[in-house]
């Protein structure tokens, strides 16, 4: 015999209560979907917005090489964009895509069905976190083209505007050390960055860098040798000098006078040139 039927009102009440219980799960899923939605993996070319400042000028040859490679292979490395679709890394690739779309729309349509471009979307807003945007841009670039000294200086300028300071030692509160940040970002040593920045500074203050002219370099070196020899002569002799030291002490006065003479000759020469 079939089981006696229960009260259908109870059955409906139970179902309605279950709907409330599932609602929480529905919400959790909706939140997750929303998060995933903001992490898009594809965007239309027109939805990818250029960044406001470009760190490096585009190299037209590199752009056309990339366009050629994209024609053949598609976009292998996705462009990196922020949550709003602003380009973080891939300026050359983006330029190549625009160029390809214009010059070869058939190939473009073939490589990018429905115009969808692969992107790697990072969950932050470049406008809100410009430092992070710069770091992403640089970290990505590091693998590709080496930075010239000019480019390093331009990057330093941008970091300075973000309150990075190029001072030695610990930065003050609210400031950040420029050298190490830049070094990490472009994957070179902090020492190299400091060297580049120092040279740039000197060039800025003195267009004709005397150090780069051999004759000045020689003069400078001779002066340094002269000072070092004087210093050596002023030191007291060792208690039991070896043969080499004895010979050195013997030749020191004449060697010193030759160094001084050579320096004087160069000074005369420079005066004549002027």
């Amino acid at each position: 015999m079939a089981k006696r039927r229960g009260n259908s009102a109870d059955l409906f009440a139970e179902a309605a209560a279950t709907a409330d219980a599932i609602h929480e799960q529905d919400q959790a899923v909706a939140v997750k979907a929303e998060q995933e939605r903001t992490q898009k993996t594809k965007l239309l070319l027109s939805q990818i917005r250029a960044r406001e400042t470009d760190t490096r000028p585009l190299d037209p040859q590199h752009v056309s090489n990339l366009a050629e490679s994209i024609t053949a292979l598609g976009l292998i490395e996705p462009l990196v964009v922020d949550a709003k679709g602003v380009l973080l890394a891939g300026g050359h690739r983006l330029a190549a895509l625009w160029a390809l779309q214009e010059t070869n729309p058939e190939v473009y349509a073939q490589q990018f069905p429905e115009g969808q471009i692969q992107v790697h979307m990072l969950a932050f807003d470049a406008e809100q976190e410009p430092e992070r945007a710069l770091q992403v841009e640089l970290a990505e670039n590091e693998k590709r083209v080496n930075y010239t000294r000019d480019q390093i200086e331009r990057l330093a300028e941008r970091l300075r505007s973000l309150n990075y300071r190029d001072v030695r030692g610990r930065p003050k509160e609210g400031e950040k050390a420029l050298g190490p940040a830049l070094a990490v970002a472009i994957g070179v040593s902090a020492r190299y960055v400091r060297k580049v920045l120092r040279e740039q500074k000197q060039q800025g203050s003195d267009e004709k860098n005397r150090n780069s002219v051999p004759i000045f370099q020689k003069l400078k070196l001779l002066k340094r040798i002269e000072a070092a020899l004087r210093e050596l002569g002023e030191l007291s002799e060792s208690e039991s000098p070896g043969r080499s030291e004895k010979a050195l002490i013997k030749t020191l006065p004449s060697f010193l006078s030759n160094v001084k003479g050579a320096a004087k000759d160069i000074e005369v020469l420079i005066r004549q040139q002027k």
Partner: protein
């Protein structure tokens, strides 16, 4: 006249969403309003039951930025087919407000969104784009459960002040008052959701036959019981 946008949803499958959406479309079109039924179901049933080509470009195309031509089912009654493209990744990653934006400038008096069963992100597109929602349920606890989930979603959106349907009613589908479950349903829903209007669509073979024969309801039988019930629903939509 301002455009009226109606979402028909249930979460549960097979409770009469498409029959109500298309039947309602036919009824409203017969009143001289230009109606577009927008099918959000990957199964693409709406275009089929209205006698048009369910495989023509439709809602997925619209959501991808295209402007597909609506198919004419009868004078003043048009349909955008659904289809498997709606299950694609590009649609899944849309913003819930994208459909609302896509239809904003459409030249129709009434838009009816036929929401799919189960697929929440598609249903949400419809609920968000609509200003009125009809939540379908039949006299089965599983359908009541599905309707409850839709109601909870609508409530939450409203509480958070988000875009979406501001007014909704329960549409009790395929009701045959000779059955005990059907008798209890209305009372039970009144208890569980006292603030929500309940509209009844009685069991009517004309609705089923119109769909099977792919003829808009009014053309099939303008005086059938189902048409009268849907007329009452249209009245609720326009006059509260």
């Amino acid at each position: 006249m301002a455009q009226t946008r109606i979402a028909v949803a249930a979460r549960k499958g097979g409770v009469g969403k498409t029959s109500i959406a298309c039947g309602l479309g036919s009824v409203i079109a017969s009143q001289g309003k230009r109606v577009l039924v927008i099918d959000l179901d990957p199964q693409s049933n709406a275009a089929y039951v209205l006698g048009t080509n369910p495989t023509a470009p439709g809602t997925a195309d619209l959501l991808s930025g295209g402007s597909p031509a609506a198919l004419e089912a009868s004078p003043d009654l048009y349909v955008l087919p659904g289809g498997p493209d709606l299950a694609g990744h590009a649609i899944q990653s849309l913003d819930p407000e994208d459909l609302a934006d896509a239809v904003a400038s459409m030249d129709y008096d009434v838009l009816i969104f036929d929401c799919p069963p189960g697929v929440e992100y598609l249903e949400r597109l419809g609920l968000v784009a609509a200003d009125v929602a009809l939540i379908c349920t039949d006299a089965h606890p599983l359908a009541v459960m599905g309707a409850g989930r839709v109601i909870n979603e609508l409530k939450l959106r409203q509480q958070k002040g988000r875009r979406g349907a501001k007014r909704w009613a329960l549409a009790l589908s395929r009701i045959d008052l000779r059955r005990s479950m059907d008798q209890t349903l209305d009372k039970q829903l009144a208890t569980a959701y006292p603030a929500i209007d309940r509209l009844i669509v009685h069991q009517d073979s004309a609705i089923a036959w119109a769909g099977a024969e792919r003829i808009p309801l009014i053309k099939y039988d303008s005086t059938c019981k189902g048409a009268k019930d849907l007329q009452a629903i249209a009245n609720w939509v326009f006059n509260g």
